[in-house]
Symmetry: none
Subunit: 156 residues, 2 copies
DNA sequence: TTGACTTCCATAAAATCCCATGATATTCCA
DNA sequence: TGGAATATCATGGGATTTTATGGAAGTCAA
Protein backbone atom coordinates (compact mmCIF):
# COMPACT_ATOMS: atom_id res chain seq x y z
CA UNK A 1 0.00 0.00 0.00
CA UNK A 2 1.42 3.29 -1.12
CA UNK A 3 1.90 5.70 1.74
CA UNK A 4 1.10 9.37 2.15
CA UNK A 5 4.51 11.04 2.17
CA UNK A 6 5.79 14.59 2.41
CA UNK A 7 3.99 17.82 3.20
CA UNK A 8 2.43 20.53 1.11
CA UNK A 9 1.10 23.98 1.86
CA UNK A 10 -2.02 25.14 0.03
CA UNK A 11 -4.35 28.04 0.22
CA UNK A 12 -7.98 28.23 1.31
CA UNK A 13 -9.75 30.56 -1.10
CA UNK A 14 -12.56 32.90 -0.14
CA UNK A 15 -15.14 30.26 -0.91
CA UNK A 16 -13.46 27.94 1.55
CA UNK A 17 -11.97 25.61 -1.04
CA UNK A 18 -8.54 23.97 -0.76
CA UNK A 19 -6.76 21.80 -3.26
CA UNK A 20 -5.85 18.39 -1.95
CA UNK A 21 -2.23 17.84 -3.06
CA UNK A 22 -2.12 15.89 -6.29
CA UNK A 23 0.17 13.28 -4.76
CA UNK A 24 -2.41 12.52 -2.06
CA UNK A 25 -5.24 12.54 -4.54
CA UNK A 26 -3.71 9.81 -6.65
CA UNK A 27 -3.50 7.60 -3.56
CA UNK A 28 -7.10 8.31 -2.59
CA UNK A 29 -8.20 7.77 -6.17
CA UNK A 30 -7.32 4.14 -6.08
CA UNK A 31 -10.50 3.39 -4.23
CA UNK A 32 -12.93 5.60 -6.03
CA UNK A 33 -16.55 4.71 -5.75
CA UNK A 34 -18.23 2.99 -8.65
CA UNK A 35 -20.20 6.16 -9.28
CA UNK A 36 -16.96 8.03 -9.76
CA UNK A 37 -17.31 10.15 -6.64
CA UNK A 38 -13.97 11.08 -5.13
CA UNK A 39 -13.93 11.38 -1.40
CA UNK A 40 -11.82 11.75 1.72
CA UNK A 41 -12.66 10.41 5.10
CA UNK A 42 -11.93 13.00 7.84
CA UNK A 43 -12.22 13.50 11.57
CA UNK A 44 -10.62 15.72 14.17
CA UNK A 45 -7.28 14.28 15.27
CA UNK A 46 -7.44 12.98 18.81
CA UNK A 47 -4.44 14.49 20.50
CA UNK A 48 -3.57 17.19 18.01
CA UNK A 49 -5.21 20.36 16.72
CA UNK A 50 -5.46 19.03 13.18
CA UNK A 51 -7.83 17.25 10.84
CA UNK A 52 -6.95 13.64 10.18
CA UNK A 53 -7.78 12.17 6.78
CA UNK A 54 -7.54 9.03 4.77
CA UNK A 55 -9.21 6.82 2.23
CA UNK A 56 -11.18 3.62 2.46
CA UNK A 57 -8.23 1.55 3.71
CA UNK A 58 -7.90 3.83 6.72
CA UNK A 59 -11.56 3.45 7.44
CA UNK A 60 -11.36 -0.32 7.44
CA UNK A 61 -8.22 -0.19 9.53
CA UNK A 62 -10.09 1.77 12.16
CA UNK A 63 -12.98 -0.66 12.03
CA UNK A 64 -10.57 -3.48 12.54
CA UNK A 65 -8.91 -1.73 15.42
CA UNK A 66 -12.22 -1.18 17.16
CA UNK A 67 -13.36 -4.75 16.50
CA UNK A 68 -10.33 -6.00 18.34
CA UNK A 69 -11.20 -4.09 21.47
CA UNK A 70 -13.52 -5.74 24.00
CA UNK A 71 -17.12 -4.71 23.32
CA UNK A 72 -18.60 -2.28 25.80
CA UNK A 73 -15.16 -1.43 27.08
CA UNK A 74 -14.63 2.19 27.87
CA UNK A 75 -11.73 2.34 25.49
CA UNK A 76 -13.82 1.13 22.61
CA UNK A 77 -16.61 3.54 23.35
CA UNK A 78 -14.29 6.48 23.64
CA UNK A 79 -12.38 5.67 20.50
CA UNK A 80 -15.35 4.92 18.32
CA UNK A 81 -17.07 8.06 19.46
CA UNK A 82 -14.03 10.18 18.86
CA UNK A 83 -13.21 8.68 15.49
CA UNK A 84 -16.60 8.03 13.99
CA UNK A 85 -18.69 10.54 15.90
CA UNK A 86 -16.96 13.52 14.46
CA UNK A 87 -16.08 12.05 11.14
CA UNK A 88 -17.14 13.21 7.72
CA UNK A 89 -16.90 12.13 4.13
CA UNK A 90 -15.70 15.13 2.20
CA UNK A 91 -16.34 15.26 -1.50
CA UNK A 92 -13.41 16.08 -3.74
CA UNK A 93 -14.62 18.28 -6.58
CA UNK A 94 -13.63 18.00 -10.21
CA UNK A 95 -10.65 20.29 -9.65
CA UNK A 96 -9.36 18.26 -6.72
CA UNK A 97 -10.58 20.60 -4.01
CA UNK A 98 -12.44 20.05 -0.76
CA UNK A 99 -14.34 22.32 1.59
CA UNK A 100 -13.43 21.86 5.21
CA UNK A 101 -16.48 22.36 7.44
CA UNK A 102 -16.39 24.96 10.18
CA UNK A 103 -16.22 22.55 13.11
CA UNK A 104 -13.03 21.12 11.77
CA UNK A 105 -11.57 24.45 10.83
CA UNK A 106 -12.05 25.53 14.39
CA UNK A 107 -10.58 22.39 15.86
CA UNK A 108 -7.47 22.79 13.76
CA UNK A 109 -7.34 26.57 13.73
CA UNK A 110 -7.39 26.78 9.97
CA UNK A 111 -7.64 30.20 8.39
CA UNK A 112 -6.04 31.10 5.07
CA UNK A 113 -3.28 28.56 4.48
CA UNK A 114 -3.09 24.90 5.47
CA UNK A 115 -0.38 22.27 5.49
CA UNK A 116 -1.11 18.72 4.37
CA UNK A 117 1.17 16.28 6.19
CA UNK A 118 1.69 12.71 5.08
CA UNK A 119 1.78 10.08 7.85
CA UNK A 120 1.89 6.86 5.90
CA UNK A 121 -1.57 5.36 6.08
CA UNK A 122 -3.21 8.74 6.70
CA UNK A 123 -2.51 12.43 6.47
CA UNK A 124 -3.30 15.50 8.51
CA UNK A 125 -4.36 19.03 7.70
CA UNK A 126 -2.66 21.59 9.93
CA UNK A 127 -2.46 25.29 10.30
CA UNK A 128 1.08 26.00 9.08
CA UNK A 129 2.07 27.69 12.34
CA UNK A 130 0.83 24.95 14.61
CA UNK A 131 2.41 22.37 12.38
CA UNK A 132 5.80 24.03 12.46
CA UNK A 133 6.01 23.78 16.22
CA UNK A 134 4.63 20.24 16.31
CA UNK A 135 7.12 19.18 13.67
CA UNK A 136 10.07 20.72 15.52
CA UNK A 137 9.18 18.65 18.55
CA UNK A 138 8.43 15.56 16.51
CA UNK A 139 11.89 15.73 14.95
CA UNK A 140 13.55 15.81 18.32
CA UNK A 141 11.58 12.85 19.51
CA UNK A 142 12.39 10.97 16.35
CA UNK A 143 16.08 11.52 16.92
CA UNK A 144 15.77 10.18 20.45
CA UNK A 145 13.99 7.13 19.15
CA UNK A 146 16.63 6.59 16.59
CA UNK A 147 19.21 6.48 19.30
CA UNK A 148 17.18 3.93 21.21
CA UNK A 149 16.33 1.50 18.48
CA UNK A 150 17.29 3.26 15.34
CA UNK A 151 19.56 0.36 14.55
CA UNK A 152 16.49 -1.30 13.15
CA UNK A 153 16.67 0.81 10.06
CA UNK A 154 20.20 2.07 10.26
CA UNK A 155 21.92 -1.23 10.02
CA UNK A 156 22.67 -3.19 6.92
CA UNK B 1 20.94 -6.74 -2.22
CA UNK B 2 23.14 -4.69 -4.49
CA UNK B 3 24.62 -1.72 -2.68
CA UNK B 4 24.95 1.93 -3.67
CA UNK B 5 28.68 2.49 -4.06
CA UNK B 6 31.04 5.19 -5.27
CA UNK B 7 30.31 8.84 -5.81
CA UNK B 8 29.33 11.01 -8.73
CA UNK B 9 29.16 14.71 -9.30
CA UNK B 10 26.31 16.05 -11.41
CA UNK B 11 24.94 19.40 -12.33
CA UNK B 12 21.66 21.04 -11.38
CA UNK B 13 20.37 22.76 -14.52
CA UNK B 14 18.43 26.00 -14.57
CA UNK B 15 15.16 24.16 -14.33
CA UNK B 16 16.39 22.56 -11.12
CA UNK B 17 16.89 19.10 -12.59
CA UNK B 18 19.72 16.72 -11.70
CA UNK B 19 20.50 13.38 -13.23
CA UNK B 20 20.51 10.54 -10.75
CA UNK B 21 23.67 8.55 -11.57
CA UNK B 22 22.82 5.67 -13.84
CA UNK B 23 24.42 3.21 -11.47
CA UNK B 24 22.07 4.26 -8.70
CA UNK B 25 19.12 4.29 -11.01
CA UNK B 26 19.51 0.66 -11.95
CA UNK B 27 19.42 -0.26 -8.27
CA UNK B 28 16.35 1.85 -7.65
CA UNK B 29 14.69 0.45 -10.75
CA UNK B 30 14.52 -3.01 -9.33
CA UNK B 31 11.45 -2.12 -7.37
CA UNK B 32 9.56 0.04 -9.78
CA UNK B 33 5.88 0.51 -9.12
CA UNK B 34 3.43 -1.56 -11.09
CA UNK B 35 2.39 1.58 -12.91
CA UNK B 36 5.95 2.08 -14.06
CA UNK B 37 6.65 5.14 -11.94
CA UNK B 38 10.29 5.47 -10.95
CA UNK B 39 10.87 7.09 -7.63
CA UNK B 40 13.38 7.91 -4.93
CA UNK B 41 12.52 8.22 -1.30
CA UNK B 42 14.36 11.13 0.39
CA UNK B 43 14.62 12.91 3.72
CA UNK B 44 17.01 15.35 5.34
CA UNK B 45 19.92 13.44 6.87
CA UNK B 46 19.78 13.90 10.62
CA UNK B 47 23.40 14.27 11.52
CA UNK B 48 24.64 15.79 8.29
CA UNK B 49 23.76 18.65 5.96
CA UNK B 50 22.81 16.31 3.15
CA UNK B 51 19.79 14.63 1.62
CA UNK B 52 19.51 10.95 2.33
CA UNK B 53 17.90 8.77 -0.32
CA UNK B 54 16.89 5.22 -0.95
CA UNK B 55 14.43 3.01 -2.70
CA UNK B 56 11.42 1.05 -1.64
CA UNK B 57 13.30 -1.14 0.86
CA UNK B 58 14.29 1.92 2.84
CA UNK B 59 10.73 3.12 2.86
CA UNK B 60 9.35 -0.23 3.94
CA UNK B 61 11.84 -0.39 6.74
CA UNK B 62 10.42 2.82 8.11
CA UNK B 63 6.91 1.63 7.48
CA UNK B 64 7.67 -1.54 9.37
CA UNK B 65 9.14 0.33 12.28
CA UNK B 66 5.96 2.36 12.60
CA UNK B 67 3.65 -0.61 12.11
CA UNK B 68 5.14 -2.15 15.20
CA UNK B 69 3.99 0.73 17.35
CA UNK B 70 0.43 0.73 18.70
CA UNK B 71 -1.96 2.56 16.37
CA UNK B 72 -3.28 5.86 17.63
CA UNK B 73 -0.56 6.10 20.21
CA UNK B 74 1.00 9.50 20.49
CA UNK B 75 4.36 7.92 19.95
CA UNK B 76 3.37 6.56 16.60
CA UNK B 77 1.74 9.74 15.40
CA UNK B 78 4.73 11.81 16.35
CA UNK B 79 7.16 9.47 14.65
CA UNK B 80 5.16 9.08 11.50
CA UNK B 81 4.83 12.84 11.24
CA UNK B 82 8.57 13.29 11.57
CA UNK B 83 9.47 10.43 9.26
CA UNK B 84 6.79 10.59 6.57
CA UNK B 85 5.90 14.25 6.86
CA UNK B 86 9.52 15.27 6.57
CA UNK B 87 10.25 13.01 3.64
CA UNK B 88 9.76 13.26 -0.08
CA UNK B 89 8.99 10.87 -2.86
CA UNK B 90 10.75 12.30 -5.84
CA UNK B 91 9.70 11.18 -9.25
CA UNK B 92 12.47 10.22 -11.62
CA UNK B 93 11.62 11.56 -15.07
CA UNK B 94 12.04 9.74 -18.35
CA UNK B 95 15.64 10.96 -18.63
CA UNK B 96 16.59 9.82 -15.14
CA UNK B 97 16.44 13.22 -13.51
CA UNK B 98 14.86 14.48 -10.31
CA UNK B 99 13.96 17.91 -8.98
CA UNK B 100 15.05 18.57 -5.44
CA UNK B 101 12.60 20.91 -3.71
CA UNK B 102 13.77 24.06 -1.98
CA UNK B 103 13.49 22.83 1.60
CA UNK B 104 15.91 20.05 0.89
CA UNK B 105 18.21 22.21 -1.15
CA UNK B 106 18.46 24.54 1.79
CA UNK B 107 19.08 21.81 4.29
CA UNK B 108 21.96 20.47 2.22
CA UNK B 109 23.14 23.78 0.79
CA UNK B 110 22.74 22.63 -2.78
CA UNK B 111 23.29 25.18 -5.52
CA UNK B 112 24.73 24.32 -8.92
CA UNK B 113 26.54 21.02 -8.53
CA UNK B 114 25.82 18.08 -6.25
CA UNK B 115 27.68 14.96 -5.23
CA UNK B 116 25.90 11.63 -5.00
CA UNK B 117 27.57 9.40 -2.43
CA UNK B 118 26.82 5.71 -2.15
CA UNK B 119 26.37 4.34 1.37
CA UNK B 120 25.32 0.76 0.82
CA UNK B 121 21.59 0.55 1.35
CA UNK B 122 21.14 4.26 0.75
CA UNK B 123 22.95 7.21 -0.74
CA UNK B 124 23.38 10.86 0.04
CA UNK B 125 23.24 14.03 -1.98
CA UNK B 126 25.80 16.60 -0.87
CA UNK B 127 27.01 19.96 -1.91
CA UNK B 128 30.49 19.13 -3.27
CA UNK B 129 32.18 21.56 -0.89
CA UNK B 130 30.45 20.32 2.23
CA UNK B 131 31.12 16.77 1.21
CA UNK B 132 34.82 17.45 0.70
CA UNK B 133 35.21 18.82 4.19
CA UNK B 134 33.06 16.09 5.68
CA UNK B 135 35.21 13.56 3.87
CA UNK B 136 38.43 15.12 5.12
CA UNK B 137 37.15 15.00 8.66
CA UNK B 138 36.00 11.44 8.24
CA UNK B 139 39.47 10.48 7.05
CA UNK B 140 41.11 12.05 10.05
CA UNK B 141 38.78 10.26 12.37
CA UNK B 142 39.42 7.03 10.55
CA UNK B 143 43.15 7.47 10.98
CA UNK B 144 42.72 8.11 14.65
CA UNK B 145 40.61 5.03 15.02
CA UNK B 146 43.22 3.12 13.18
CA UNK B 147 45.85 4.33 15.56
CA UNK B 148 43.78 3.07 18.41
CA UNK B 149 43.37 -0.27 16.76
CA UNK B 150 47.05 -0.31 16.00
CA UNK B 151 48.00 0.21 19.60
CA UNK B 152 46.11 -2.86 20.54
CA UNK B 153 48.38 -4.94 18.44
CA UNK B 154 51.54 -2.93 18.91
CA UNK B 155 51.49 -3.03 22.64
CA UNK B 156 51.41 -6.61 23.70
C1' DT C 1 -34.74 37.07 -5.06
C1' DT C 2 -31.10 35.97 -1.98
C1' DG C 3 -27.59 33.24 -0.32
C1' DA C 4 -25.12 28.78 -0.27
C1' DC C 5 -23.23 25.60 -2.98
C1' DT C 6 -22.12 23.56 -7.05
C1' DT C 7 -20.14 22.67 -11.80
C1' DC C 8 -17.48 24.62 -15.33
C1' DC C 9 -13.91 27.46 -17.44
C1' DA C 10 -9.46 30.59 -17.39
C1' DT C 11 -4.75 31.24 -16.28
C1' DA C 12 -0.08 31.27 -14.71
C1' DA C 13 3.44 28.72 -12.92
C1' DA C 14 5.54 24.51 -12.39
C1' DA C 15 6.36 19.85 -13.59
C1' DT C 16 7.06 16.55 -17.16
C1' DC C 17 7.76 14.75 -21.72
C1' DC C 18 10.34 14.51 -25.83
C1' DC C 19 14.06 15.14 -28.75
C1' DA C 20 18.87 16.76 -29.70
C1' DT C 21 23.79 16.96 -28.65
C1' DG C 22 28.43 15.92 -27.30
C1' DA C 23 31.12 13.13 -24.52
C1' DT C 24 32.45 8.48 -22.92
C1' DA C 25 32.33 4.02 -22.82
C1' DT C 26 31.42 -0.58 -25.04
C1' DT C 27 30.96 -3.82 -28.67
C1' DC C 28 32.21 -6.03 -32.69
C1' DC C 29 34.66 -7.63 -36.38
C1' DA C 30 38.18 -7.64 -40.05
C1' DT D 1 44.39 -5.76 -31.81
C1' DG D 2 42.95 -1.57 -33.72
C1' DG D 3 39.54 1.16 -34.72
C1' DA D 4 35.13 2.07 -36.55
C1' DA D 5 30.19 1.31 -35.32
C1' DT D 6 27.18 1.34 -31.53
C1' DA D 7 25.37 2.13 -27.00
C1' DT D 8 25.05 4.84 -22.76
C1' DC D 9 25.02 8.92 -20.23
C1' DA D 10 24.66 13.68 -18.61
C1' DT D 11 22.86 17.83 -20.14
C1' DG D 12 20.29 21.46 -22.77
C1' DG D 13 16.05 23.36 -24.41
C1' DG D 14 11.39 23.53 -26.66
C1' DA D 15 6.67 21.73 -26.36
C1' DT D 16 3.06 19.87 -23.66
C1' DT D 17 0.61 18.68 -19.52
C1' DT D 18 -0.51 19.15 -14.54
C1' DT D 19 -1.51 21.74 -10.73
C1' DA D 20 -3.10 25.22 -7.79
C1' DT D 21 -5.98 28.91 -7.76
C1' DG D 22 -9.18 32.52 -9.33
C1' DG D 23 -13.64 33.63 -10.91
C1' DA D 24 -18.23 33.10 -13.77
C1' DA D 25 -22.29 30.82 -14.57
C1' DG D 26 -25.69 27.37 -13.12
C1' DT D 27 -28.60 24.90 -9.47
C1' DC D 28 -31.40 24.58 -5.65
C1' DA D 29 -33.85 25.69 -1.52
C1' DA D 30 -35.96 28.97 1.51
Amino acid sequence: MEPFVSSFQNKIDKKGRVSVPAAFRTILDRDVQADGVHQVFCYPAIEAPAVECGGVPLLSKIYQLLEDLPPYSEERDVLSTALFGGSLQLKIDSDGRIIIPDEMREHANLTDYVTFVGMGDKFRIWSPELFASYMAEAREKAIEHRKLFGMKYDRK
